[in-house]
Symmetry: C2
Subunit: 311 residues, 2 copies
């Protein structure tokens, strides 16, 4: 397929690389042009465009992977945006499909989809991912896709070059909904791990034993596996996912739930903890650092037996 | 080994069966004698004792698997208790070892251990398990063991007949501590799953897709795997673990944390939800039924799109 990829950050660069490796004809654009030039230098056959509009010329799919909804809107619908350069639907062939992999919330996804449809008659999919840089690199991301099933089938070969699981979540916006609830759950499950380690520390328990038992038992979670040991060692690097990025996702999760008239009390609690951690200057650390404000509040440091403990 | 097993409930009967199958010389006792007689009828070579005291005569290990600390105390230290019939330590051979697999909390385990030591010079291990009836049956329980490492080594062959992972958690009581924190985490992770499904329902999301994504992503947990589908179908049978039993464990968890001067706020929240569910008459259901009071509070039934929803 002929593909434009807009946004070569930590995730986007690895995703685009897998598209190129799979043999797709790739044009890239990045806000900082040097990054795009370097990417093309490392991946023979990849073209660099000066604008999203130029990147979208005569491609089958435009992917976006950026930070938030306003950025997606600008890249697609701005003056030099991809929609202005893409191929309109014609009798002979389908138009360009727009696939946004950013995490922007369901409302913004629906608004952008509506505008692409009404002004240009373009098809749009929201296709946010779970999995961080290592999985982006190995092509093992999970894509949650909102939009028409037929549109998904048209771009599936491209998604399969980047992901190991592609799930159709419903109409436009539902990919975002599923992604945000998943990340809200990840955030609260991480708070649970921190509180459990603190409760165990107060009782003089062996934290490595606790983590081993939880991993193999009913207390097991992906966050026990990924964040338990970093919390015990207070090692918040390498940064697989920045605390401030998780906070952004949890905020979007709560906004979306509120907009539907629903509730997600534990996500709000996780948001409070993340805000406290960010206020402590930990926003650029791995989100395992959310343990820090809990340690402060509990007056206990994970893994350090309290002074005067008799066991 | 020569082994006495006291308490042939859902878990105990399966554990004792595996001891017999592994070739250990087994004597059983159960409060309801008929259960013990039936067990012996099904397992050739197993003897039935009239009292814990009689069961403990000349055995290497006494296992207990009952409901709570007072029961364990009575079976071991009561008038017809096992301690009165067991083999005292002598120059030529070690004394009987007492291994309690019940969930009774660290304080009661330490008190019973101290009494067995001071009055009889017996060794005691607290060895609670995770895993429900199917894992008890297949011999794949996880044992968390508190006590002297040398004592654990003496009984390890018996534990290995019943479990796939035997972890030394520290001194007496620490097996209980680890078990209770694990179960506290399981309880709160289950509340998280229920709240996530409710938030997703409010947004008209596809719950099967959400569960699939969470299982393979950062929101994954053992409780997502085990309790997600039962909550969507509102099917709280088969009962792998009764809601009231989980409530008991969470109460013990919070008691133990409080006694150490620590905190576990999310376990307290899970306790509140479990109490509400029990008050609704769901105590004998599988603990996935803790979703019911949350559905009531949120005014949403998991999987049913709210009336008037536009998506």
């Amino acid at each position: 397929m002929r593909i434009a990829f807009l946004g070569l950050g930590i995730m986007g660069s690895r995703m685009a690389a897998n598209l190129s490796l799979a043999g797709h004809e790739l044009t890239v654009w990045n806000r900082t042009a040097k990054t795009a030039d370097e990417f093309a230098g490392e991946h023979p056959g990849v073209s660099v465009a000066a604008t999203p509009r130029e990147a979208a010329a005569d491609v089958d799919v435009v992917f976006t992977m950026v930070v938030d909804g306003p950025q997606v809107r600008e890249l697609l619908l701005g003056d030099a945006g991809a929609a202005a350069g893409a191929r309109a639907r014609a009798d002979a062939e389908p138009g360009t499909v727009f696939v946004d992999c950013s995490t922007i919330g369901p409302e913004q996804a629906r608004a952008i989809a509506a505008e692409l449809r009404s002004e240009h008659n373009f098809d749009f999919l929201d296709a946010p991912v779970t999995g961080s840089a290592p999985r982006a690199q190995s092509g093992e991301l999970v894509f949650m896709v909102g939009g028409e099933p037929e549109t998904l089938e048209r771009v599936r070969p491209a998604l399969e070059a980047m992901g190991s699981l592609i799930v159709h979540a419903g109409e436009v916006g539902q990919g975002q909904t599923v992604k945000l609830i998943n990340n809200g759950v990840a955030a609260i499950n991480t708070v649970v791990v921190a509180q459990a380690l603190l409760a165990a520390t107060s009782q003089g328990a062996d934290l490595d034993v606790l983590l081993e038992v939880m991993r193999s038992g009913s207390g097991g979670s992906r966050m026990v596996e990924l964040k338990g040991s970093p919390m015990v060692t207070h090692n918040y690097t390498p940064v697989l996912f920045k605390l401030d990025h998780l906070l952004k996702d949890v905020r979007l999760c709560i906004e979306a739930v509120d907009a539907s008239g629903g509730h997600f009390a534990l996500a709000e609690l996780a948001q409070d903890v993340l805000i406290q951690a960010s206020d402590m200057g930990l926003g650029d650390e791995d989100f395992a650092a959310l343990a820090a404000p809990l340690e402060r509040d509990y007056g206990v440091r994970i893994g350090e037996r309290p002074a005067g403990s008799d066991r």
